[in-house]
Symmetry: C2
Subunit: 219 residues, 2 copies
């Protein structure tokens, strides 16, 4: 299986702006990319090649890729995500299956990804919060992705239109893309080592005594 990890290297995680400044958003996005690549490359059996699909060249300063993932390729493609990924679908299928794993899945683990790769189906979808698609496996060349809006529902319809079977993977870790400030709580508690280290240096958990709600606050 070829695995592609789309990564917005140009303007990552803009919806975290209420909590993180621009350089922090770049740094956290890079930590999450590193953790995702760790998880992806730890599931050797079914994975043949791994490629980061980046919107811009990766920055040397916070390039966890270059340090630890010498076996991972990088392709720069500044087009919209849907167009870039569909070119990868065309290039990969039918020679081998393709997995797409978003770079902001800071809670991804090898075992969650192994469940994804191991689920049979022409198209295997991992629904994310907000009706998105956080990861998928494509085993039929007729399928095309469309990541805008309600992509989970749209991908189901797109698979149906080309007669492809659809399965889903029920994973909290893969359903949690770190997009908004509330998602940082999940990354703080359940994230990979780079992500957790970066967050715990700057933030701490606070429990609201009345409601028992948990938030992340600056140290």
């Amino acid at each position: 299986m070829h695995v592609v990890v789309p990564f917005d290297a140009a303007a990552p995680k803009t919806r975290l702006a209420p909590l993180l400044d621009d350089s922090e958003r770049h740094a956290l996005a890079s930590c999450m990319l590193g953790d995702v690549l760790d998880a992806v490359t730890s599931t050797h059996e079914s994975v043949s090649t791994v490629d980061v699909l980046a919107t811009a060249p990766l920055d040397d300063d916070n390039d966890h890729h270059g340090q630890d993932h010498a076996d991972v390729g990088v392709t720069v493609d500044d087009r919209p995500l849907t167009d870039a990924v569909n070119d990868v679908v065309t290039d990969t299928l039918p020679d081998e299956p393709l997995a797409v794993v978003m770079a902001d899945l800071g809670l991804a683990t090898p075992s969650a990804l192994t469940r994804l790769y191991g689920t049979a189906g022409d198209v295997v979808l991992v629904p994310g919060r907000g009706v998105g698609t956080n990861a998928l496996v494509v085993r039929t060349p007729a399928f095309r992705v469309d990541f805008h809006g309600t992509s989970y529902l749209d991908h189901r319809l797109a698979a149906e239109r080309v007669g492809a079977s659809v399965e889903t993977v029920d994973s909290f870790r893969l359903a949690t893309d770190v997009d908004e400030p509330a998602d940082l709580v999940e990354a703080f508690v359940h994230g990979g080592p780079r992500t957790v280290d970066w967050l715990t240096e700057r933030f701490e958990l606070t429990v609201d005594d009345e409601e028992g709600r948990v938030t992340l606050d600056r140290r």
Copy 2:
């Protein structure tokens, strides 16, 4: 395995007040309870008895329990959740394992619950969004629950203190308790039949064209 489903029959889902009035919150909570009980009672093999642990007597008007779940008991206990559940722990263990499944898991399915019941461990935790514990299995009489605040982390510590092994179940469906307006999007798309019917009568999905974010709006 004995399964207990805690249900706030008195003032359910107060954090949905921005979107739903009081009677709507009661109705939706009752739909979710019905869907959860459907899922719980569909996993026959390992489940011996099912009991709703309610803070007040169930209302006849929207009592999905009475209509469809004649084999499900109801216990009324108006104490805080932690105290009420710990009494159930004491009453159930060590005779048989206990599963606690919250009544607001509107996305619960038999297969997600089967994964929970089938996971070995003295204590099996299902982390929920916001560091909560949405479901758990207890197989050791020494363990006590504490549902306030960061209960997922607290339950890990509590298990460690009594020398109990801990496992977790990675499930988006069980991690999604329907607490806040944003969670209703998940229930709308992935929820059980009662929950989806109730929501689709009143709401529709809207995609913000610029950001592609998805919200639920009144029809």
